[in-house]
Structures are given as structure tokens and as C-alpha cells.
Symmetry: C2
Subunit: 318 residues, 2 copies
């Protein structure tokens, strides 16, 4: 059986491989200088490394990129740098969902005008308890104002941080009016039951678990792959699982277990500082440790504990 023919275990489900947007995607950590400004050079080098490690694509300006801690100008400038350096816009998914409607429109238009048609959108996340009708209006206004029929919107469902869930009702409203444009969802709820429900309800969308913990489970149920923070330090592990699944390899379960063990070790700490710490150590480059406020660099004690727990498992950066 070839990769393209390979189906999800339930043959009624679409295979990830047949989906327009699929694979192992890494949200990209954004290194900063001592003054907390973006270090574009280190960023580009890291982005290329992630693609070399097997990522199908990069999600730029999600939570892991500390996106909401950067100004619109910083975000647009870094995207332009990435494209100028030769990163393929097809391999990018750009975070563009802001609290303010004109900001979301501006970032989305900027991405699309630069050839990045796939955007990962947080809902406006300041007001809580807002109605689906209000959120519909917000997303619809962005789509209408950007007015590009090649735009592909992936929802970013991360209720623990945004406080504003992307509900089934909201997706249905938007899918009805913008079929094709509404293309997918990153489910960072950590709730597999929710991911499974979305996969079943919306076969026309690429549903990505927000953690490699659910990569394999997702693939077996018709998920599109994963978009996972910890690919920043374990892209090869996640891609290994993807390939083993696609090739139906015997070592699939063992690879999955190793990958999940690494995830478990890392997510016991604040994930962004923890991964910057690991990259700093792996590259003998202390500058990598730095995060922008309000986040705080991992302290030495936490770092030592993290290294100790990772040393016990098969992990790419050991």
C-alpha cells in the first residue's frame, strides 16, 4: 500500500495524507536579544533546522512563538525576514488572530499578500463569555475585509489561555458561509474527546491535535497530524512517528512511546522557557534561554531537573 492510498484505520475516514493541510507542524520558538527584541538570525537558523528535522511546516506566531508578546510590526517584520531568507510560504501557517479586529485584518492581509495563505487564528480573547454570533461576526469581518479566496483559516482552540473556546456551533456558522476558506483547527484543549468529536463532525477540515501525545491516535481517527510546541526540540521524534504510521512500520508503537515520554518530561515545566533552555544547552548558546516578559527564563534548578528526567529516555537532544 502506498502512502497516498493509506487510509485511517476506519476506512470511512479520510486519511491525513489526502488532506490539503497535514503533517507534523512546529510552532516556532522566537529567540530574543537581551533587550527582548527579536533575534531574527537565530530564528531563521532554528526555522531551517526544524524543517531539516522533518517538520512538514511551521506555525509562526502561535503561543509558542510568544506571538501576543510582540507588536504587529515585529511580527510582520519577522515573517518578511523568513520569506526573504527563502522559507517557502507554503510551509508556513501564520498566527493572525488578535483581540482587535483591525489588527487581525492587518496581519491576515499581510500574510496573504506575502503568499502565506494559511493562517492560524485565535478568537479575540479579551472579552470572555461572548456569544458565537459575536465571534462569527469577528471572523467573518476578517475574511470579508481580507477578501482573498485563497485564504485558508485554521481556528486556534486553546481555551486555557484564550479563555474563549471555538465551539461546534461557531464552526458550523462559519463553514456554512465560508466553505473552503474554513480549513482546519488546532485543538490545544488537551482533550482528546473534543479532538475526536471535531474530526468526526467536520470531515472537510484538517483537525490537528495541539500535542504529539495525540498524533497517532489522531491519525488513526482521521486527524491531519499535529501542530505541537514540543516539535521545537523533538521534531525528529514526531516525524518519526508520522513516517512509521505512513509506512506501517513495526516500530510505530515504540517510537510513539518514546515521543510521548519526552513530551511528558518537558510539559512538567513551563513549555516555552523549558524548550529555550534545552536549545540553549544543545547549541551551547546561552542567549537562546531568554524569553520576553511576562514569561520568565527557566531557572537553573528546573533546568537541571528537566535534563535529569530527559536523560532517562530516548530523546533526540540528549
Amino acid at each position: 500500500m502506498t502512502q497516498v492510498e493509506r487510509k485511517a484505520d476506519d476506512s470511512s475516514l479520510l486519511s491525513a495524507l489526502s488532506r490539503a493541510i497535514h503533517g507534523v507542524w512546529s510552532p516556532v520558538l522566537v529567540p530574543v536579544n537581551d533587550d527582548f527584541s527579536i533575534d531574527a538570525e537565530r530564528f531563521l537558523s532554528h526555522a531551517r533546522w526544524l524543517l531539516d528535522q522533518g517538520c512538514h511546516g511551521l506555525a509562526l506566531f502561535g503561543t509558542t512563538s510568544e506571538a501576543n508578546s510582540f507588536s504587529l510590526e515585529e511580527r510582520m517584520s519577522l515573517l518578511e525576514s523568513a520569506l526573504a531568507a527563502g522559507i517557502d510560504p507554503q510551509q508556513l501557517m501564520v498566527g493572525t488572530g488578535c483581540c482587535a479586529l483591525p489588527d487581525s485584518v492587518r496581519l491576515t492581509r499581510h500574510a496573504v499578500d506575502n503568499g502565506c495563505k494559511k493562517v492560524l487564528m485565535l478568537p479575540p480573547f479579551y472579552y470572555k463569555g461572548v456569544s458565537d454570533a459575536g465571534l462569527y461576526r469577528s471572523f467573518a469581518e476578517v475574511i470579508e475585509r481580507v477578501g482573498d479566496d485563497q485564504l485558508r483559516v485554521l481556528f486556534y482552540h486553546f481555551p486555557k489561555l484564550s479563555g474563549v473556546p471555538i465551539t461546534v456551533g461557531l464552526i458550523e456558522l462559519l463553514l456554512a458561509d465560508y466553505p473552503g476558506v474554513i480549513a482546519g483547527l488546532k485543538d490545544s484543549s488537551g482533550d482528546w474527546a473534543n479532538t475526536a468529536d471535531l474530526i468526526e463532525r467536520f470531515p472537510e477540515m484538517s483537525i490537528f491535535p495541539g500535542s504529539e501525545r495525540y498524533l497517532l491516535q489522531g491519525l488513526r481517527h482521521g486527524g491531519a497530524g499535529c501542530i505541537t510546541a514540543t516539535a521545537n526540540v523533538n521534531a525528529s521524534g514526531a516525524r518519526g512517528v508520522w513516517d512509521a504510521w505512513a509506512d506501517n512500520s513495526e516500530d510505530l508503537e515504540a517510537r510513539d512511546q518514546d515521543m510521548i515520554a519526552a513530551r511528558t518530561a518537558i510539559e512538567a515545566y513551563p513549555v516555552i522557557p523549558a524548550q529555550k533552555f534545552l536549545l540553549a544547552r544543545h547549541r551551547t548558546d546561552p542567549q537562546w534561554q531568554r524569553v520576553r516578559p511576562p514569561l520568565l527564563d527557566l531557572d537553573e534548578k528546573q533546568g537541571a531537573e528537566l535534563l535529569e528526567s530527559l536523560a532517562k529516555i530516548d530523546f533526540a537532544l540528549n
Copy 2:
């Protein structure tokens, strides 16, 4: 006893009247056009009306102003319009706390450079569960980068919306390094015990309950007044309570009860759309009803119910 001599009931406490920043402040509703852009003319007229109704000052770009739904440029432009129209910068408190450090710096510097030294700052509110040390670094960076010793920072504590509380520990850290600059706090927790605790712990700060429900209770315990959304439709009621307290009038309790009854009626509905609805009706100006997404205009049924419940009480706009 003159107003200036009047003390809080516990004579060990400072009176609101002796505090540098005190009184009844109204966060200002921001009217929008059909395309959701800001209607500066209606805004200015409303701001002047609020001052005429007795507000000591106006908080521009808090939650009630839908601040986070507007771009930085929209916010700065409206502030400039207000100042150009003759609104006294001393009577303004400008919301400048954003998720992104450079945005908070930019808005704060803009306010200060335009003579508005008092800013009301949300913490960076995307990441949840961040440490006080990380939040300290965020506020301290803003203060350092703005570098104006006339800057007066009031914290905006609204955990239900921001998801990021302003803790006693954070205040202590910042007060130690920036005495004088750290000037106050708006407590929108709705938790009187928290407000009372802050008043007691930080006598050097102006602590404002975020609702007129606690105006009188606050004044009796050394609070600075209130900064309350519903002053947009009941500034005269809140100012009436303030004056009755300052003058030790016999009708103080009766005024307080009427004011709280109005608050109770309004906050049974989404407070921003509900107040825009009431102003639209009071001014026979339907345009006032409009809110920016993700909020939604109050529907007709809700509006009718609200009017019915307000009709039963002594309310300024009836």
C-alpha cells in the same frame, strides 16, 4: 467639619479626599459607526456629558471602552481628539496595558507625552499562570522605558477578563522599586474582601472599587472613590452618593440604595451593550447601540426587559 477634614470612619485611615487621585471616575463608552470604526464626535459629546454629570474624571480605554478591540492607532488618535477638544488631561486616566510589551510602552509614552500622567494598566493578559517575577519585569520595563517620573501607574485588576490577577506580592515588588509611580489600583474583582485588604495593605495607593456597589463601603474604609462602568448611565447617581458622603448628608443611605438598585438592574445584562442601548434610547440616537465585534448589540427583548426593571427604580435616565 469641612470636606477636606472629613476622614474615613476609622480615623486611622486616610480619607479619599486627601488622596492625590480620587473621586467618581467613569470609564468611557466608545461609540462606533456602522463599519465599527470609532465615532469621535459622539464620543466627545458623551465624554463632556459625563464630566457635566459630575464625574471627577474619565478612564479612557478600559474594558468599557472596548479598548482591546481597537488598534493602537485608533486608541492614540481618539485620545488626541479628546485633548484637542479641550478635555483636561488631568481628568483622564488612560488604559495602556497590552499583551505586548512594546505596545504598552508605546501607549504609555504617548499618554504621558500628551500630558496624561495617569495610566490604568492591565497586566499582559494572554499567558496565564505567569509568575509575579515575570509580571514585575513586564511592568518595570514599561516604567523604565517610558522614563517619566510624573508617570502614575494604576493597576487594573480584573481577573475574570484578564485571567491574570494583580497580587499583593506583585504590588509589593513594584512599590519597593517605584514608590510614587505605583499610585493606585482599580479592583474589578467584585470581591469586597479583596478591595478592603488592598486598602489596608497599601495606604500609599489610591484603591478604587471597580463598581459603585462598593463606593460608599470603600469610602468608609479609606478607598479612593470608584471607577465604574455604569457611571456611563448613572454618573449623577454615583456623584450624588460621593457628595452626600462628603457632606455627611441625611439622604446618603437612600441615594446609595437607589444607585445600587440601578447597578443591579444593568449588570443583569452584558454591561457594555446594555449601556449603549440605554444611551441610544435616552438620546433618541440608535447609532449609539452599536458595539464592535466580538461583542454584540443588545437584542430588543433584552432591551425591553432592562427598561422594565429600571422603570421600577429612581434612575437618572428614566
